[in-house]
Amino acid sequence: MAVQGSNANPVVRNFPKILTYIVLTLGAFVMVLPFIWMLLTSVKIDSEIFGDSLKWLPSQFDFQNYSNAFTQTNMGRLFANTVFVTAVSVFSQVILGSMAGYAFARLHFKGKNILFFSLLATMMVPFEVLIIPVFLFVRAFPLAGGNNLLGQGGTGLFNTYAGLIFPNLISVFSIFLFRQFYLRFPHEIEEAAIVDGCSRAGVFWRILLPNSRPVMATMALFAFLWSWNDFLWPLVVVKKDALKTLQLGLSLFNQEQGTQWAELMAASTMAVVPVIILYLVLQGFLTKGAVTSGID
């Protein structure tokens, strides 16, 4: 913008910048307004929600909606279930992804490229397409839920935590991300450790893994969002109330309550706020990680 800056009037000179701000602010308003509206609705009393004219701000803050929503959805249980399922999924995706990523980036073995690219190709296949065979596999899991060795007779991992977690144990994306990271990792350190008598597995556990914190944080964030926000799989694999996840509970709350908008918005707020906080915290960590992503 400096080239056309011969104009002395600052408003005219800065016009492109001002326009950028206006457009971006309008867009951001559209992005955020639904959340603001959720927050505002969640503390209103019914007469203000169903009034003839729309009222933006509540005349009084009614936090009763939050406690009602919390008890009616049994949110403590939903939270505990979701935290457990998410924690196991994130841990597993990070560890298994880093192990496989290391093997694909640093080790030589026959058929490596064919194997890697056929796994990569499955990234294009949406999970929803495979839900029938995966569901049948989980239901016919051997020696679980009353099944015999051949997976017959019972319900397998259907209606269990293991069934909820199972499809989230691994992601191709995680393998891909760690492989890219390890491909760029300096070879000298690894070679020096091997010369010093460290085993290959030791190189991974002691040198590569501790130094992959930035990519681990990135992957953990993705895995967290996928698992925490997952809806279709919990919907089909869990029917017991005690096993329901936050998203599932929230979706059913709506059906039972019909038009209890304030309580529904309160429940939604409680479901989304932890995610936003965690995102902001991890985002800080990620930007820091990008700066210090070298070797300590």
Binding site: M31, M99, A103, L107, P126, I175, S251, V272
Partner: protein
Amino acid sequence: MNIVTQTPAVKQKKSLGQRLYKYYNSQAFVALLFLIIPVGLLIILKIYPIFYNLYLSFTRYELFEPPRFVGLRNYKWVFQNDVTRQSIWNTLLFTIEAVPLGTALALVVAKLLDENFYGKIMYRTLYYLPVISSIVVSAMIFRWIFNPQQGLLNYFLGFIGIPPQTWLSDPNLALLSLVMVTIWGSIGGNMIIFLAGLQDIPKEVLEAAKVDGANAFQRFIQITIPLLRPVILFVVVTFTISTFRNFGLIFLLTQGGPLNRTNTLVWEVYMSVFANLRLGRGAALSMVMLVMVFILTILSFRVIRERQG
């Protein structure tokens, strides 16, 4: 997995322990050790299901009796039944309405955010908020916003003289409503990918164009977009796949209705399997979905490549 172990070259006699260690420490063995669980899980979750699904699509299977081979009958049903034919059309319509506009908006936002200015990170976070919110939370909020009586959308449209609409129960507006939520929820994620792509564009090229007298709009159209083509391709393909997968919004907002106007393929898969217990039909529908994803991916690669050449 074809893993060939490197046989240690035996030059002098080594103890059994040494030989075992050498084997244990060979690249092939460590690779086997590290890959057996992840690859095993992916075979169970991603590779075997493709083939089993293909098999199931040729059978009649109602869960409580074993699958029975019926040839192409399920596919015939998919292509001859009005409801499923409409679901294929709705899936395409949904993608056509959401992907081009959503991609363009994400690109524009990314371009505007690519400059250095005060508050950049805050803006980026605000645009990203819909992405971290779950589909269920988004659906709940928009169900309230679309509400015909107290909804925010009708309130705003009232200012420009548009009468209140029954968004989710109007056959002509239901799909459009879902498209709006989808675009709203997708801009942030696609924006991040575009921002990464924009960083890779050499600043010298843009500076040179500026010196030659190209204005910001010309630089964007004639330099940024052509250089960004591979990234645009990536966004279009992943966004398309994600609209194909969009089950949650339909389940929570329209249940495929009204008048089957929002019954996309993924919704019909769910209905055939988990509501009607017709697993063979569901498998055939999901194979059609898979083929559509495949064709669209290849087509987008083609389009981008031709334009480039």
